[in-house]
């Protein structure tokens, strides 16, 4: 299904924090060439950074995967990050996601900002709330046999800050 996109990146890496900024820089360069828009490229790289930070934090095995697909006419960027996680982390993630999707993007983002500041465990899903609001992304999750896939579908035209 994904191969219908002729512009894509598929990358597999060990869950090491030191690789994250390298991947972000690569994605930013790749997207700058693809979209010919440095700011949009930087925002997509930010989304990728947040997703792979989560993968590195919560992966309990080697081999996190990053897939980026650009749809026809470059209108949607689909970022998929997959990693293996413990059942406890999956349960925590599902609880956080239910809360996240229970509110409009800006409300959820502001609530996550406040909650994260007093949360010691770093499992606030602030990164997902950020992608959802700042990149206007639709977030989907697929959890199967301990593998967690988080997909962010980012429209390249609906950009900027809502003045709600």
């Amino acid at each position: 299904m994904q191969k219908e996109s002729k512009i894509y990146v598929e990358l597999k890496f060990g869950p090491k924090w030191t690789y994250i900024s390298t991947v972000r820089t690569f994605v930013e360069d790749f997207m700058t060439i693809t979209l010919e828009d440095k700011k949009k490229a930087t925002s997509i790289a930010m989304a990728v950074n947040e997703l792979i930070e989560n993968a590195v934090k919560f992966s309990d095995l080697e081999g996190s995967e990053l897939n980026i697909y650009v749809t026809k006419e470059r209108k949607i960027i689909k970022v998929i990050v997959t990693n293996h996680a413990s059942q406890q982390d999956i349960d925590d993630l599902q609880k956080c996601l239910r809360e996240l999707f229970g509110s409009p993007p800006l409300d959820a983002y502001m609530k996550r900002m406040k909650d994260s500041a007093v949360s010691p465990d770093g499992k606030s899903t602030l990164g997902l709330a950020r992608i959802r609001y700042e990149c206007k992304a639709e977030i989907h999750t697929n959890i199967e046999n301990g593998m967690v896939s988080i997909t962010a579908e980012i429209p390249t035209e609906k950009w900027g800050v809502d003045h709600e």
């Binding site: 924090w17 930010m46 950074n49 934090k57 900002m113 994260s116 500041a117 990164g127 900027g160």
Partner: protein, 133 residues
């Protein structure tokens, strides 16, 4: 050295420097310049203690405004945002009359600054203002 006697902090790719702010309306103020990239795993360990040290010094010196220059901060991850929020919550918690305002100097050419700062300002409307761009 600045009037708060706080040394600069260099942590991974991020740099934080305090200077006395001599410009315009903020003659008694302080300027914090944050530049580079905040993408470390836990800025609440690496950076938050430094910001809270500044907070304590601002209160002790009864300084009413701190300008924070982010114009060369190219990236901040969500853990970095969490750290900024922790600091701003602290300033908001100060008893009325004893607190200080945070004036953000931002760079509209940097994507995250355009999308993140308006949300932070909305969260702390009584504390955060923007410098004219």
């Amino acid at each position: 050295m600045n009037k708060l006697n706080i040394e600069p902090l260099q942590v991974e790719k991020a740099s934080l420097v305090i200077r006395d702010n001599k410009e315009g309306e903020n003659e008694d103020g302080i300027l914090l310049i944050i530049s580079g990239e905040i993408d470390m795993r836990d800025p609440s360990v690496a950076i938050l203690p430094y910001l809270l040290n500044i907070h304590d010094a601002l209160i002790a010196h009864e300084i009413k405004t701190i300008s924070v220059d982010f114009s060369n901060l190219n990236y901040v991850n969500s853990s970095g945002i969490k750290t900024m929020i922790s600091w701003l919550m602290k300033s908001k918690d100060v008893q009325s009359g004893k607190g200080y305002k945070v004036k953000i100097i931002r760079n509209g050419d940097i994507a995250w600054q355009e999308s993140t700062f308006p949300v932070i300002q909305k969260l702390f409307p009584d504390v955060v203002t923007f410098a004219e761009e």
